[in-house]
């Protein structure tokens, strides 16, 4: 297994995605959940790059740029929600306490 093995990139991507998912599921702090989401997005981006490298297709790199744009949008929306929560007088960043939309 050398550094240019595309499978290695895919394995790392799966590993990173699991870390991110695990973070979203167990962390209650909104900021850490956003961070974990970023990790998941980057894992997906890495998967695209590796897959593009493996099959010699440029599409993977196009998808990468798109995912970067998504990540930026997601981060801005997520941080905006956090700021609004703070401005509305919400004392904590505990995601479980923001459940007023429940059915």
């Amino acid at each position: 297994m050398n550094a240019s093995d595309p499978n290695l990139g895919l394995i790392i991507a799966a590993f990173l995605f699991s870390i991110g998912l695990f973070g979203v599921m167990v962390r209650r702090n909104l900021l850490f959940m956003l961070l974990s989401t970023e990790v998941m997005l980057n894992a997906v981006a890495l998967a695209f790059i590796s897959a593009g490298n493996k099959w010699h297709q440029a599409d993977g790199q196009i998808m990468f740029i798109m995912i970067i744009a998504y990540a930026a949008a997601e981060a801005s929306v997520g941080l905006a929600i956090v700021l609004r929560l703070h401005a509305a007088g919400h004392a904590t960043l505990d995601a479980d306490s923001c459940n007023r939309l429940k059915g």
Binding site: L21, V24, M25, V26, R28, M33, A95, D96, C98, N99, R100, L101, K102, G103
Partner: protein
């Protein structure tokens, strides 16, 4: 000229639509002006069209206009068409002219009612439906008018629906006439399947070729429908209660026009009726029984409008007896004169009721002869016409015509009808003597305006002179009416000479004399009679009680038992299942975003596992 026929119907219909769309925002003055204009135009057009039609050659049987093709399936088709023949000319004139007079009267009668817009919307809709019924050339179109008048009758009986008895009376009228409408519809189905057409002329042409049992069955169904509409025994119970409506409604719908629709229908189908003697026989018996039962009830009523309601039933019985005896001319002639004098009687009764602060009990009236001389004259003329006082009244000539034909068929019918005439003169003059003679018992107020007096005077003149259209040969041969209808209804039967005529003339006079001796002014005020028999008579011979016990109560009990039946429970179960599923899924929606992420991840894993 045929193109004017739809316009005649459109006039009142348009007024009705305008009044409905403005939704009571018009005040009384524009409403009455609109109604007067619409109905006046309608009456003028009817007169113009009728004169033009009658001025044409006699062989010119009918004018016909087809508006559009309504139904066209496999081997059945129905067209929306209007026909004017000599029979519908008579009805058209009665409906539009008497209707116009009554609506003018109603304008004054209802002027202070806050719902005047709604009232006239229903009234004009009624006139439009009645005109459609009269002019229809196809039984399906006739049925539309038939249902329309039934609906308007329901709406107008319950016009003052804030009082519970009025709403109940309206419902009763609707349900009872619905029985007849269902029978009518069954009759239409029979003819539609047997003959393939409901166009009246084609149907009459096809009638001799139909299987006899189907023809009889169909005519029985139609007779049933007509009987419910005309309040004949045993479907008569709705008419006395229908007096809950405003008095102009009683005059227009429950005396002059709607209740005679059944007679008109049977006269229109008389060629088919001739082929089914059994139906004619039943029709005659029904009329015969109704004459006597209704006259008996009218003898003991205390409410002036109920007296008139029972007398309407009784007079309609004469028409049914005439139809059953094949006396088409007599039936239609009596229909016309009855429309005149009964509308007059209801209008005068309404005037009295209005001036006595809505007092309807005749035993609380009295001595009105001096205080309302004009109303007294009008009521006397109407009563004389109803009783059939000889020579000077319209009712005399039409009733004599029916009596003659009844004698031709069976002397028993003649005797019964004569007894009915005797009772008629007693009960109506009982009412006259109690209301207009004796001491004052309730004080009146106000005056009767021109808008009410004028229609009453016109109808009073017609109640006297209307009969001179047709005078028996024994007195002086005038046959205007039968000559008018001969192309449609055929020649009239031969007369029996003067013996029957003299008996028929004397009987009402004896009745009036008897009424005078029984109810002439005495020292103390008259009291309504009591006793079990009288109470039964007053309550319509116990028909209501029997129907309540035999139909309404069992139905209510069955309905109560069936309230939570098996099928209901099954559907309840389905509802419960949906509800609990919803409850279950609502539990997922707990607002904790981490759980959502878990579910998304788990579902993705499952989806991927299934896909790979």
């Amino acid at each position: 000229m045929a193109s004017l026929l739809p316009v005649i119907i459109l006039c009142p219909l348009l007024v009705s639509v305008i009044l409905i769309l403005t939704g009571g925002r018009l005040s009384a003055r524009p409403t009455t002006l609109l109604v007067g204009a619409g109905m006046g135009l309608c009456a003028l057009l009817s007169i113009y069209v009728s004169c033009n039609f009658l001025a044409g050659p006699v062989s010119d049987g009918a004018i016909h206009t087809t508006l559009w093709n309504w139904i066209s399936v496999d081997n059945f088709s129905a067209q929306v068409g209007l026909t004017l023949d000599r029979l519908s000319v008579v009805m058209l004139l009665v409906v539009s002219c008497v209707g116009f007079l009554i609506l003018i009267y109603a304008c004054a009668y209802m002027y202070d009612d806050k719902d005047i817009g709604r009232f006239f919307a229903y009234m004009t809709l009624f006139v439009a439906s009645m005109l459609l019924l009269v002019l229809a050339s196809d039984l399906t179109v006739l049925f539309v008018g038939w249902e329309g008048v039934g609906l308007c009758s329901y709406l107008l009986i319950g016009f003052w629906y804030h009082e519970r008895p009025n709403a109940l009376a309206a419902r009763k009228a609707f349900v009872v006439t619905r029985i007849g409408d269902a029978l009518f519809l069954l009759g239409l189905f029979v003819f539609a399947t047997a003959a393939g057409t409901l166009d009246i002329p084609s149907l009459i042409l096809a009638a001799p070729g139909l299987p006899h049992h189907l023809l009889t069955l169909g005519m029985f169904f139609l007779l049933g429908g007509a009987m419910a509409k005309s309040a004949q025994v045993p479907l008569q119970t709705w008419l006395p209660d229908a007096m809950a409506g405003p008095t102009p409604v009683s005059a227009l719908i429950h005396a002059a026009t709607m209740v005679t629709a059944g007679v008109y229908l049977l006269a229109r189908l008389h060629d088919a009726l001739l082929l089914t003697p059994a139906v004619m026989h039943v029709c005659a018996v029904v009329g015969f029984v109704t004459i006597l039962l209704a006259a008996g009830s009218a003898l003991v009523q205390t409410d002036i409008k109920r007296i008139l309601a029972y007398s309407t039933m009784s007079q309609l019985g004469y028409m049914y007896l005439a139809i059953g005896c094949g006396a088409w001319h007599g039936a239609i002639f009596h229909l016309v004169t009855h429309a005149f004098f009964k509308a007059l009687l209801f209008m005068t009764a309404g005037t009295i009721i209005l001036r006595l602060h809505h007092e309807q009990d005749i035993f609380r009236m009295g001595g009105l002869r001096q205080r309302m001389p004009g109303v007294f004259a009008a009521f006397l003329i109407g009563s004389a016409a109803l009783a059939g006082l000889p020579l000077v009244t319209a009712g005399y000539f039409s009733k004599e015509m029916i009596l003659q034909d009844a004698f031709n068929v069976a002397p028993l019918y003649w005797a019964g009808a004569l007894l009915g005439a005797f009772m008629t003169s007693i009960y109506i003059f009982r009412c006259v003597f109690i209301v207009f003679w004796g001491g004052t018992r309730t004080h009146d107020h106000g005056r009767t305006g021109l808008a009410m007096a004028l229609p009453m005077s016109v109808l009073a003149v017609l109640s006297i002179a209307g009969g001179w259209m047709q005078i028996p040969d024994a007195i002086y041969p005038v046959h205007l009416f039968s000559n008018l209808l001969r192309p449609v209804l055929g020649p009239i039967a031969e007369e029996h000479g003067s013996a029957l005529l003299i008996i028929g003339s004397i009987v009402p006079l004896i009745g009036v004399t008897m009424a005078w001796f029984l109810w002439r002014p005495k020292n103390q005020a008259p009291q309504p009679a009591g006793g079990v028999l009288i109470e039964t008579l007053r309550a319509d011979w116990g028909f209501d009680a029997v129907y309540n016990a035999a139909v309404s109560r069992p139905y209510e009990i069955v309905a109560r038992i069936n309230q939570s039946d098996f099928i209901d429970r099954f559907y309840g179960l389905v509802g419960l299942m949906v509800y609990s599923l919803g409850w279950l899924f609502a539990k997922f929606q707990n607002g904790q975003v981490r759980r959502y992420a878990c579910w998304v991840a788990a579902a993705t894993v499952v989806a991927l596992y299934l896909a790979v």
